[in-house]
Amino acid sequence: MDPPKQNIVLGLGNTMHGDDGIGIWIVEKLQHRLQALADVWVTEEMGLRLLDFLSGYRTAVIVDSVKTEQGVEGELHFLNLSDFAALPYCGCHQVGLPEMALLAETMGIPFPETVHILGIEIEDPYRVGNTLSPSLKKKVPLLMQQVEKKIERLLGG
C-alpha cells in the first residue's frame, strides 16, 4: 500500500448550475496560492466517484456549496464529516460524502483521517447557467480571503 499523501483541497460543485459551482470557482482561483499546502483539485463528480480523489490522503478540505435553513448567501460554514449523518439506506442515486466515508471504513480503503468541509451558502442550486449570480459574484473576493485563511489555519501546521 502506498504511504498516505498529506493534504488535498477539493473544490466541488457543478459550474453548469450557476451558484452550485461556487466551490469550484473559489478553489480554482486559489489553486496557485494553496499548492504549497496541499494537492489542489476541482471536480464536478459526486458520490462514490469522489473516493478516487480522496483515497490515500491524510487530511482533506472540501469546498462546496451548501443550502441551509437560515443561512445568508455567501456565508461560510465550517463543518466536519461527522456533522452529516449517513442515510439509513441509499435511497437515491447518489452516495453522499457520509456514505462514502462509511463505505471506505468498512472496506479498509485508505480515507482521510480528517475531512474539513467549507460550505458556502447559496440561494438557488437549480438555475442552469455557467456564471455566478451577480449577488454571489460580488462576494467572491471576500470568500476567497476567508477560504484561504481557513485552509492555511487548517493545513498550515
Partner: protein, 492 residues
C-alpha cells in the same frame, strides 16, 4: 455555544423529491404521488451556442450519466451535419459507451439497489446500507468492485478525457483514436470485466435468488404493472445501447411500433399534472388515459427490464444465456414485475462487458480514420442512446451558422415517470392499511421507485451530496401525520 445550523434538503426550494401519501377516513391510501425536481432554463441557456459545443455542455448537466449525454449529443450533431462517422469512430464510441454502462450498472447493483435486494427488504433498518451490502457479499467482493470500476474508469479517461467532462465525440467522429500499442490494455481490462460480470451473475443467483422474501416481492402484485415497453434494438431486434431503431412492444409483448429516432415526436407526447413539474411521456397514438395499466393506456416503461422486454434476445453469448434464464424463471415475456429490473440490470452488465471485449479486440478499433469532416447542415438533428436508466433523446434545431435555436432533451426518467408514479401509488395502496405505517413500510413503498434507478442528478449536488428526498403521510383532514426526510443535519 455554536450557531445552530440546519441543513435540510426539504428546504432546498420547491424542486426536491418527495412522495406524498394521502389517507382516507378509514386510514386506507386514497392516492400516493411522487414528485421530482425539474431542470430549469436549460433550453434558454443553450440558445445561440454552437451545436458542436453541445456534447460538452450536456455532459456537464448531469454528474451521474455524463457519457450518455455526451454520446447522444454527438449523435444529434452527426444528424445536424448529415455526416456518418467512420467505422472506427462508431466502434470507439460504442466501446466507451459499454464501459460506462458496465461501471454505472455495477454501482447500482452493489451499492444503490443493494440494500433492497442484497441485504433484503425485511432486514433491520441499520443493516440496509452500504455496510450491510458489503457484509453480505463479502469484503473481498467489495474491494474487487471498487478496483474493477476504477480500472474501467481509468481507461475511459485515457480514451475520452475526464469522465465527467469528456471532450471527445464530435460531429462526424471522435477527436482521438486508439493507438495499436494500447489495444492490449483495453482487451485485458475487458476480459477482467467479463470475469467480474460472471461473478456478479453468480452473486445474484446465490444471494438474491436464494432470498425467498425478495423473490416473493419480485412477483407480487404490489410491484406489477402491465404497460408498453420501449428501447433501442439492432436489426435483429437484440438489445443495443448505442444505436438502432426504437422498438415498442405492447403489454402482450407484440411489436406495437418500430421507428428511427428522428420520428420520436410522431410517436411520443407529454402529459402535465398540476402536482408535479415532471412531464409524463406517453404513446401519442394510444393516448393518455390517466395513470392506468393496459393496452388502451399509452403509458410505457424504459430502462433495463423494458430493453429486455422489447428485444428478441441479447447479441452476446453469455448475456443471451442470462436473458433466457431470467425469462424461463419468471415464466412470461414481457415481464411486468418492476422489481425484476434489478435482474435485467445484471443481464445487461454481462452484455456490456462482453460487448466491451468484442470491440476492444476488433481490428477496426485501432484505425486512425476516426472523423468525417461535416460539409453540409440540415439545421436539425436527433440523437438517441440507451442511458442506464432508459432511452435518452437529444434534439437540436440550428440556424445556418450551426447556432442552437432550440433544444429538446427527453431524459430516461421522463419516459418512465408515469409508470413510476403508478408504481409508488400501487405499492402504497397494497402496503398501508388502517393508517398504520412504519419506516419499514415506507421503505417498501420507496423500493417501487428505486428499482427504476431514477436519476435526479441533473438537479444539483450541494452538500451533503445525497438527493433530497422525503416521504409525507397525510390523514383525511389534511394533517401531516408522519414525515421521513433524508440527509437532514443539525449542528450546534
Amino acid at each position: 455555544m455554536g450557531k445552530r445550523i440546519e441543513i435540510d434538503p426539504i428546504t432546498r426550494l420547491e424542486g426536491h423529491g418527495k412522495i406524498e401519501i394521502f389517507l382516507n377516513d378509514k386510514g386506507e391510501v386514497e392516492r400516493a404521488y411522487l414528485s421530482i425536481p425539474e431542470l430549469r432554463g436549460f433550453e434558454v441557456f443553450c440558445r445561440g451556442k454552437p451545436v458542436e459545443m453541445m456534447p460538452q455542455i450536456t455532459a456537464r448537466i448531469c454528474g451521474v450519466c455524463p457519457t450518455a449525454h455526451h454520446i447522444a449529443s454527438a449523435k444529434a450533431c452527426d444528424d445536424v451535419y448529415e455526416v456518418d462517422p467512420p467505422v472506427a469512430a462508431k466502434k470507439l464510441r460504442e466501446m466507451l459507451y459499454n464501459m460506462f454502462m458496465f461501471e454505472d450498472h455495477l454501482l447500482h447493483f452493489y451499492i444503490l439497489g443493494g440494500p433492497d435486494f442484497i441485504v433484503g427488504p425485511g432486514a433491520p433498518k441499520e443493516q440496509r446500507n452500504v455496510v450491510g451490502v458489503i457484509q453480505t457479499v463479502g469484503l473481498d467482493t467489495g474491494k474487487k468492485l471498487i478496483a474493477m470500476r476504477r480500472r474501467v474508469r481509468e481507461l475511459m479517461t485515457f480514451l475520452a478525457g475526464k469522465v465527467i467532462h469528456p471532450v471527445w465525440a464530435l460531429p462526424g467522429g471522435v477527436t482521438r483514436g486508439l493507438d495499436p500499442s494500447q489495444q492490449q490494455r483495453f482487451i485485458t481490462v475487458a476480459r477482467e470485466a467479463v470475469e467480474f460480470a460472471r461473478f456478479t451473475l453468480q452473486t445474484f443467483r446465490e444471494i438474491v435468488l436464494k432470498n425467498r422474501e425478495y423473490v416473493e416481492f419480485i412477483t407480487s402484485d404490489a410491484y406489477t404493472h402491465r404497460t408498453y415497453y420501449m428501447g433501442l434494438v439492432d436489426p435483429q431486434n437484440r438489445v443495443n445501447f448505442y444505436d438502432g431503431d426504437i422498438r415498442v412492444v405492447d403489454p402482450q409483448g407484440k411489436e406495437y411500433i418500430r421507428f428511427p429516432a428522428r420520428e420520436y415526436l410522431q410517436h411520443l407526447a407529454e402529459h402535465v399534472e398540476p402536482w408535479t413539474y415532471i412531464k409524463f411521456l406517453y404513446l401519442k397514438k394510444v393516448g393518455w388515459k390517466g395513470f392506468v395499466d393496459g393496452e388502451a393506456s399509452g403509458i410505457y416503461a424504459v430502462a433495463p427490464l423494458a430493453r429486455l422486454n422489447v428485444a428478441d434476445g441479447m447479441a452476446t453469448e453469455e448475456a443471451q444465456a442470462a436473458y433466457q434464464e431470467m425469462y424461463q424463471a419468471l415464466g412470461t415475456r414481457p415481464v411486468h414485475h418492476t422489481l425484476a429490473m434489478h435482474w435485467a440490470r445484471v443481464v445487461e452488465i454481462m452484455y456490456a462487458a462482453e460487448r466491451f471485449l468484442e470491440l476492444a479486440a476488433d481490428p477496426d478499433i485501432t484505425s486512425q480514420r476516426i472523423r468525417m469532416i461535416p460539409r453540409t447542415s440540415s439545421g436539425e438533428g436527433v440523437g438517441v442512446v440507451e442511458a442506464p436508466r432508459g432511452t435518452l433523446f437529444h434534439h437540436y434545431w440550428t440556424d445556418t451558422k450551426g447556432l442552437i435555436q432550440k433544444a429538446n432533451l427527453l431524459v430516461a426518467t421522463q419516459n418512465n415517470a408515469a409508470r413510476i408514479a403508478m408504481s409508488v401509488d400501487k405499492a402504497a395502496r397494497h402496503l398501508i392499511h388502517d393508517g398504520k405505517v412504519s419506516e419499514e413500510v415506507l421503505n417498501l413503498v420507496e423500493m417501487a421507485f428505486r428499482a427504476y434507478d431514477p436519476c435526479h442528478a441533473c438537479g444539483t449536488h450541494s452538500l451533503p451530496g445525497h438527493f433530497a428526498f422525503s416521504v409525507r403521510l397525510w390523514d383525511a383532514r389534511g394533517k401531516v401525520i408522519k414525515e421521513i426526510r433524508n440527509g437532514s443535519v443539525e449542528r450546534s
